[in-house]
Amino acid sequence: MNPAQSRMSALFGARFWRRCLLLASLALAMPAWSAEILLTAAEDGPGVQAFAQALREQRPADSVTFKALPDMPAPGQLPGNTRLILLDLPSLDWRLQDTQGPATLVLRISRLQARERLGNHVPAKISLLWSDPPVDRQLRLIANILPQARRIGVLYGSDSEFLLPELRQHAAALGLEIVAQHWDNINDSRPLLSLFKNSDVLLGLDDPQLYNPKTVKNLLLSSYARQLPLIGPNAGFVRAGSLASTYSDQADWLNVLDRLLDRPQAGWPRSLYPDHFKVVGNPQVARSLGIEQVDETAVATRLAEGEKHP
């Protein structure tokens, strides 16, 4: 070895050790969970930016960055310790192209969308955080605000049919009966009418084939004509004329994420409904149907208490 080489080695060795020391001291100075959080979505927008900013504020110690999907490398090229959060379905498609890559939290995905894309199989390293209100929570909302309702009318399509067994199971636990009605042609309202005859209340499944801007008018007007309240399928429908729904907004999701991000990635669940949520009611509809106003905070608290398992 020539002296120059040796000097370089010595220099390199010293630099290496100095760096190690620096890293070690940094590691000691920062909390153990300090992490690289990477958000992605196909489209950027004020909503996405507001969320990224809120997450930054929620976790000041982490590095929260948003990168639009076109700027992302293949998932496998991301460092393994990155905490990847997907904000839409195109980003999920991108993530699924590679079995390698960091553990991933998928937000804003409903049970129906997941089933459509993934079937019953949830790929490894993926945690699905459901955007649709959980059916048991919606059923307990019904039991809370409409204690006399026994027959829960449910419209389903071929996409949402798979939810029925689960729905029936939860309903049975609450002493409720599910009256299910297949609705395959949204231009034909006869199935609605036959369901309305046999129901005390309607529960909307978050199935965009059935509940969408095209069907909302007919659904709400014809159920209202029979004095039948609709619960769900989501907060947007409550504004349109549904009686009430549970929902989770950004603040709820930030709380949910905060807890998950505190945990090691290995401990993330395969799928999860947010345990932070709110209740929204439509006071005008309640008044017209002769139902007590929904005390949103109190009902949400009662529902949350009911979900606490020892």
Partner: protein, 706 residues
Amino acid sequence: MYLGPPPRSSLLLALLVSTPLLADDLFLDNQPLPQVLTATRLKQSAAAVPGSMTVIDSELIKASGARDIAELLRLVPGMMVGYTSGNQAAVNYHGTNASEARRMQVLIDGRSVYRAGLATVDWSDIPVAMEDIERIEVFRGPNTVSYGANSLMAVVNILTRSPANSLGTRMKMTRGERGINDWYASQGLGWDTGNLRLSLSGQQDDGFDSDRVGADYRDSRRLNRFSLKVSQTLDQQQSIDWQINAKEGTNQRPYTYKPVFAGITDGGNDSDVSAKDYAASLRWNFDFNPDHSLYVQGSAQQWDRRQVWTACDAKVSFSPELTQLWQMNPNYAEKLARHMKDYENGRPPQGSAAEQALAEEVLKQWNNGGKESVCGNIDQSTKESRYDLEVQDTLSLSDSLRLVSGMNYRYDRADSDTYFNGRLDDTTWRLFGHLEWRASEHWLLQGGAMYENTDLSGNSLTPRVAVNYLINPRHGLRAVYSEAIRSPDMFENNVNWSYKVTNLSSPTYGQNVGQYFVKTRGPGDLDKELMRSRELGYNGFFADIGLNVDVKLFYDEITGMISEPLRNNQYIASNSNSSRFTGTETQLDWHLSTADRLRLTYAYVDADASNPLDRQQTARNSGSAGWMREWGRGWSSALFYYGNDALNQYRFERVDMRVAKRIALGKANLELAGMLQQRLDHQPTTQLDNNYDQRHVLYFSAELEF
């Protein structure tokens, strides 16, 4: 039109304030959904309705097995359902005259079917099939503010099924005793922005069997109907609904002409009516925003009643001198005419010199061939038309204040040689406003007024005010004071009644055409009838047992009442009568289980009227009881009892039983039903001539839907 609750100024605002639902929240569904159940669309809850309301829903309509709207109204407490003949139902709320029911408003999808000229409702001729009715809302009490003139004692609001809910094909046949033979067929279609329903139907039966002397009673009917209803969405804010209805048919009428002059034996066989009804309406709905909406509805209707019959009397009936004498003194003329034989060989009855001179002349004619019988045709046909335009605006002023206001223009025309000696018309303008104020969670104050001006009977202003106290959203107490007016109809006020007889069997006074000597004219200066109604009520829904109860106490007075029956001899109408109705009503609707439903109604009505005729159509005690049950496997049954202790002095008690079986045939559904009606009493129905040979009737129906 009915008035909903005072809404929030903006639900969106409320949501924004009460919950952290943010517009740019990534996690809230940002699908652009329209607000559907808006402040202007939502109605009052049952406990907050400013009055008494009975709703006959589609389940009840079907279970009742009723073939006529009038029969369905037996389910409404206080409704007095009677019959003038088999094809002429006479329906009154609480009472008044048995032969004419002119104090109740009847609407079909917002269009009044009250006849423009003769001020009656021809229940059997309404161009609507039972199968097309979605529900009937009966507002029990006066409400001209919301429903217009003639809403004096009650309002029957018939709502037909929306085309969107009528998709597919329906066919129904009904056959049974008493010549019952009905059919119905409908087809519903939908496209991207609209729907339509076309329905055709027909009805036939023999009416009552025998008159007071046991002879066959001529009161059968046959009719066919056509109905087309279309709804079309234009954009997010606008939609139009239009419909066309037509009906043609024949209503038999017994021959009732009795010659004035003695010794005439010839006569006709019938005075049947061929009845055609046409109606068309167009409604444009516009939502400015969730707090403000407006509609404009225009409609045109025509009622054609063709009634030509043969009358025979002495030739002297057409004497110009006798006509002159009648105009001078009807009593004198009638005395002479009815007793010609007593005077033919002597002096005429005592009277003024002029009367006696004319009578002498008439007697001379009588003795010179005037006593011979002559027959001819009497044309009692009428053609009535109505054009109506209404604008109604619903504005939610704030969270707790809502205003419904509007105006209405109506043009009525009646053509009849017999009744009006040609044509008569009338124009009505109305302005109305109704304010709902939710003062607090418990107190609701609603009031309004209507101003009306008609060419024939002048101006009027009627107020209405109601206070509801809501114990909770399902239980409410109410106190209502309302005034309502009824303008005298063209017939009452302006009748110019005389019979022109054509095609005389032999020349009379040198003519083949003659003017019958009896002429009647309406006073022309009749004033409006005024109703003052006071009501205390309770409406409650016991959600845990599925029981809905409504009770009301009422005290109604009608003053300036026109009570004189419409007769062509000596019709002297005046506003000199009055009546008073007091009592209580209750209705109970109980969903005992998902399979059983019980329904009870009862009314106690005490009627006091200056004219005894106005007490006839009031049964002191009346009511109904029903039990509907789903037995499973497609079987269902309904058992109803209807009773009243004396309507026009006759008791009425009937039990109806309907048993039905639904059978699924692939995608189609077949329902077979049997219906038995059993009378429990032995009395005629309302009138002495309305008798059945058997106390029961049986009919069957088959209905296929696909």
